[in-house]
Amino acid sequence: MNDESNTSDRPREDEDRHAFAAEAHSLWRITFAPTVWALHFVLCYGLVSLSCAKELIPIATVQAVLTALSLLALAIIAWLGFRSLRQWRVLVTGQLEHPEGTPESRHRFLGHAAFLLSVISAIGVIFVSMPLILIGGCQ
């Protein structure tokens, strides 16, 4: 599962491109949860506009659909958060900080950062979903 965590620093025969892709992927991963928040946000804004400005869809339908999407977004973020929590391995090691210059430390650090970003993204999705539930129509 965590193949890049054991990567030696020594340049190896076949390593270059393969390891590069794996590495780059793990930096992208910290942005996944905020990206889910952003997509959710854009959908909220866009669908409400289609309902209130263009009057294509009834607002009650939009509110129901978006609330369902909020739950979906939260589920995806929870899954991302769970994966990054495992990558962080804090529950196993009890180690909160990762300042060491080892691949393992870097790997867990990225897990930690991704986990914290999942938490903040979940809070963001909950905040943005509240108007859907609390505010009536298109006044």
């Binding site: 928040w37 952003a38 909220c44 970003l117 903040i120 905040f127 943005v128 298109c138």
Partner: protein, 858 residues
């Protein structure tokens, strides 16, 4: 043809030799004589030009200094405008300046502080400091930094000087139409074109800084060990790429309306002023954080030093920076709460505005925690940081109030807003930046600033600031609107305004002290110690007296605070024990490492002093400045010359096949001198630039769907559509051009040079055909009649300009192939053009679908 048979095996571009270095390798001393010879060669390669040629320098230390000083000068000009504004408002019914002049003053004050000071200052400081923090010799594209600086200088001077001729922009710093579009005189054009020019410089700086932070770190500095400043630079660079392009797209539409009367924002012909507000604030709100984050990053560098311990909660601060970066894009409508959007929509933006407080607060708590657990020495930089935290927290609290839409309805466009934004900007930008100036001054100019003058300046600015802006909260609550040039007596505003004016002059006195301290001659001052604050990060390995080489040798880093935690690193760096201690070929070089783990990958040749950046910047300036006064042909000529200058610069100085395929970089490691594709910095720069370009394009497409959403009849019944056949032909031809570029890359790499050349020529031909077909498709439309044909034509224009660029790129590669610059094993140019083509084909197909299909379907 002989070139076809020259399919030699590709050169080995893997790093060879031991890495990471063992303690024994590092312990081995370098002979004295060798050290001296190496240092001499390095010094010669990096020597700063003397005399009038000094201005050709491209080294980050020189360009960074000019950039900072220019931004400071622009800030002082904008400050003087603020003083005139305050003088005018000091007493009721004042007639010091006219209403018109007052409008010019506040417009230019806001625009200059934002576009000519706050954002460029981030770029300036980062260009100056980032290579030092990363132990790099220079940024990867020094001439790009220099080009960006000269653009900034020309554009900024042009915009500011307009006020002396009484033709300055006067519609407020956010230029709302229809006021700004219908304004007589060149003011709005000066704002648009002058600032567009500077936005391009900002994107150039963002490209430079992102690639610098990702690819120019010292070996071993993994992402979990980057100085926090580099994390912030990365986040802010990314934000610039998504925030500035919507404004550039908005400027593009705005200028088409101003000069060609295409009615994007004119409601009488189907346009909508709200689109400008959306595009402006999609830029404008993230911009606040683009200004705030790098300044607070300075605090993240100062605080560990004064607390004498590593930062507490490194990952939390990274979370905070990345989280703020994302959330800040969901706030833009809180500047538009009173525009009548549905209340659910207001709720989304209100909620996101509250949510952004959480990550922002986390980083402040991390700083406080670091100070609490450390042994704090209250030095001058820390005093300014403390002031910043206090002022910013107050601004943040009023921000939370304003995020609540009903409260915002009450105080919208009053002095309460003025107070709030100045609290956030002084606390979030001015104070931390001045802290940074005091902290980094010994690094920048190898002298110290005065402790006594610094304290005077701090207390003057801090008290003056609060005297000026604290009463404004009340003035605003009492109902005084922004941007009024005078007011009658008896509304309860008189005393409050007078107090604010006194405060403004106290701030000015503080700035005078600060600027005097900064600029006063310091020739007699003894040299400061090398690391006066006993900091732990790499920039404090700088040389005193100054050396232009950045670092004597590029260290292997295994900790977050190498100077604290890696004993002996400084001596080894000085002795040239680490990487690239020499410049045998007399060329400027720096080390390129991998993105995550910073494993050494390549030796990058960086460019040296040149006039070509000035030539390119001057012609680019002409291209933007002439249209302001309606001179379109000179602008076109300038544009062509600017293009030629840039091509000359690229041709002579970038991606040339090296004289040797690899070189020894020290400690037994041998690295390639040429790479192409994702390993090369040029590929990353193209990727990042195209991301920004795609965002701008997406903003124009957003405009199309915005009109469709906001209007009942878009496209209007019976409107003439773009030709279906021509649009389909354009889509096919542009897709074919993309396919041919990919084939050219593949064939070239396999040694089939003739086939590759034919494919490139074909690509140029098909791209030109595609652009031409799209132009023909929209030719019968009349863009001045209604916004529907206008937006279709704007999209087509965007694609045509890119098709022309694509043709130039294909021909450039073709010429490179004939000239031996582009060979089967040296195909960086072609890889970059292929990357451009990926983005271009995607945007072409989207454009053709929106132009040809969407109007017939919706």
């Amino acid at each position: 043809m002989s070139a076809d048979k020259a399919a030699l095996p590709p050169p080995d571009r893997r790093p060879l030799g031991p890495y990471p270095p063992t303690p024994e390798m590092l312990a081995e001393p370098v002979p004295e004589a060798l050290q001296r010879a190496q240092a001499d060669r390095l010094r010669a390669a990096w020597r700063t030009p003397k005399g009038w040629r000094y201005w050709t320098a491209v080294n980050n230390t020189e360009v960074g200094k000019w950039y900072c000083l220019t931004a400071l000068a622009f800030m002082l000009c904008a400050g003087v405008m603020a003083l005139i504004i305050r003088l005018q408002l000091a007493v009721p019914d004042n007639d010091l300046v006219s209403s018109d002049r007052f409008s010019q003053l506040f417009t230019l004050h806001g625009s200059a502080m934002m576009f000519l000071f706050a954002v460029p200052m981030f770029e300036a400081i980062s260009i100056l400091l980032l290579p030092g923090m990363l132990g790099a010799r220079d940024m990867p594209f020094p001439r790009l930094s220099a080009f960006g600086y000269w653009c900034f200088l020309i554009g900024g001077t042009f915009v500011l000087v307009s006020i002396l001729f009484d033709i300055a922009p006067r519609a407020g710093w956010f230029m709302y139409p229809p006021l700004a579009t219908q304004d007589e005189g060149p003011g709005s054009d000066i704002w648009l074109l002058g600032l567009s020019f500077i936005e391009i410089a900002s994107i150039a700086a963002a490209v430079e800084l992102i690639v610098g932070a990702l690819k120019c770190r010292p070996p071993g500095m993994r992402v979990n060990m980057m100085p926090l400043y580099a994390w912030y630079v990365l986040v802010v660079g990314g934000m610039i790429l998504f925030a500035f392009p919507p404004l550039i797209a908005g400027d593009f539409l705005f200028e088409l309306e101003r000069s060609l009367d295409w009615p994007f924002f004119d409601p009488t012909r189907g346009g909508d002023p709200m689109l400008w507000q959306h595009l402006f604030w999609i830029f404008g709100h993230p911009e606040v954080y683009i200004v705030f984050l790098p300044s607070i990053a300075i605090a993240a560098m100062v605080i560990p030093t004064v607390a004498r311990r590593p930062i507490v909660g490194y990952s939390w601060i990274v979370l905070s920076a990345v989280g703020v970066g994302f959330l800040s894009f969901g706030l833009w409508v809180h500047h538009m709460f009173t525009t009548g959007l549905p209340s659910i929509s207001l709720g989304f933006f209100s909620a996101a505005s509250q949510a952004v407080v959480i990550p922002t607060g986390i980083q402040l708590f991390a700083f406080l925690a670091t100070l609490l657990v450390g042994r704090v020495t209250m030095n001058l930089p820390m005093l300014w940081i403390a002031g910043a935290l206090a002022v910013f927290t107050l601004g943040g609290l009023t921000g939370v109030m304003l995020a609540i839409a009903p409260f915002d309805f009450q105080v919208h466009d009053t002095y309460f807003i003025v107070a709030h934004l100045h609290y956030t900007l002084f606390g979030g930008m001015i104070f931390p930046v001045i802290a940074g100036v005091y902290y980094f001054f010994p690094f920048i100019s190898k002298k110290m600033l005065s402790e006594r003058l610094g304290r005077w300046s701090f207390w003057l600015i801090f008290t003056g600031f609060n005297i000026c802006f604290l009463p404004m909260h009340l003035t605003g609550l009492l109902g005084m609107p922004r941007r009024i040039y005078t007011y009658p007596t008896g509304l309860g505003w008189d005393w409050l305004n007078l107090i604010s004016t006194v405060g403004a002059f106290i701030i000015a006195a503080g700035f005078l002290v600060f600027v005097w301290d900064l600029l006063r001659p310091k020739g007699k001052q003894p040299q400061p110690p090398r690391n006066p604050w006993q900091a732990g990060t790499l920039e404090w390995s700088h040389d005193i007296p100054e050396e232009a080489w950045g670092v004597r040798s590029i260290p292997h880093v295994t900790t977050r605070y190498p100077l604290w935690e890696q004993p002996g690193i400084l001596e080894r760096m000085d002795a040239g024990r680490y990487y690239l201690p020499d410049a045998e070929e007399g060329r400027r070089e720096t080390l390129i490492t991998s993105v995550i783990d910073a494993r050494p990958l390549q030796v990058q040749r960086v460019t040296g002093p040149s006039w070509i950046t000035h030539v390119a910047a001057a012609f680019t300036g002409g291209c933007f400045i002439f249209p302001t006064f309606g001179y379109y042909w000179p602008a076109v000529v300038c544009g062509v010359f600017a293009g030629m200058a840039i091509l000359y610069w690229l041709w002579t100085a970038t991606a040339r096949p090296p004289e040797a395929e690899r070189k020894d970089v020290g400690l037994g490691l041998s690295l390639p001198t040429y790479v192409s594709g994702p390993d090369s910095v040029g590929w990353w720069a193209m990727w990042i630039t195209m991301l920004g370009d795609a965002t701008a394009f997406a903003s124009i497409i957003f405009g199309f769907f915005f009109y469709w959403t906001a209007q009942d009849d878009f496209p209007p019944d019976g409107a003439l559509h773009a030709g279906a056949g021509e649009t389909a032909l354009a889509a096919l031809a542009l897709a074919a051009a993309w396919g041919l570029v990919l084939l050219a890359r593949r064939w070239n790499r396999h040694g089939a040079v003739t086939a590759a050349r034919l494919a490139l020529a074909g690509a140029a031909l098909t791209a030109a055909t595609g652009g031409g077909a799209l132009a023909l498709a929209v030719w019968p439309l009349d863009p001045t009649s209604h916004v529907y044909p206008a937006v279709i034509c704007a999209i087509a224009l965007w694609i045509c300009v890119h098709a022309a660029l694509a043709v130039v790129m294909h021909l450039y590669c073709l010429a490179g192939s004939f000239a031996g610059k582009l060979t089967p094993h040296h195909d960086a140019d072609l890889c970059n053009v292929a990357l451009f083509s990926h983005f271009f084909v995607l945007s072409s197909l989207v454009a053709c679908a929106v132009i040809g299909l969407a109007p017939r379907l919706i």
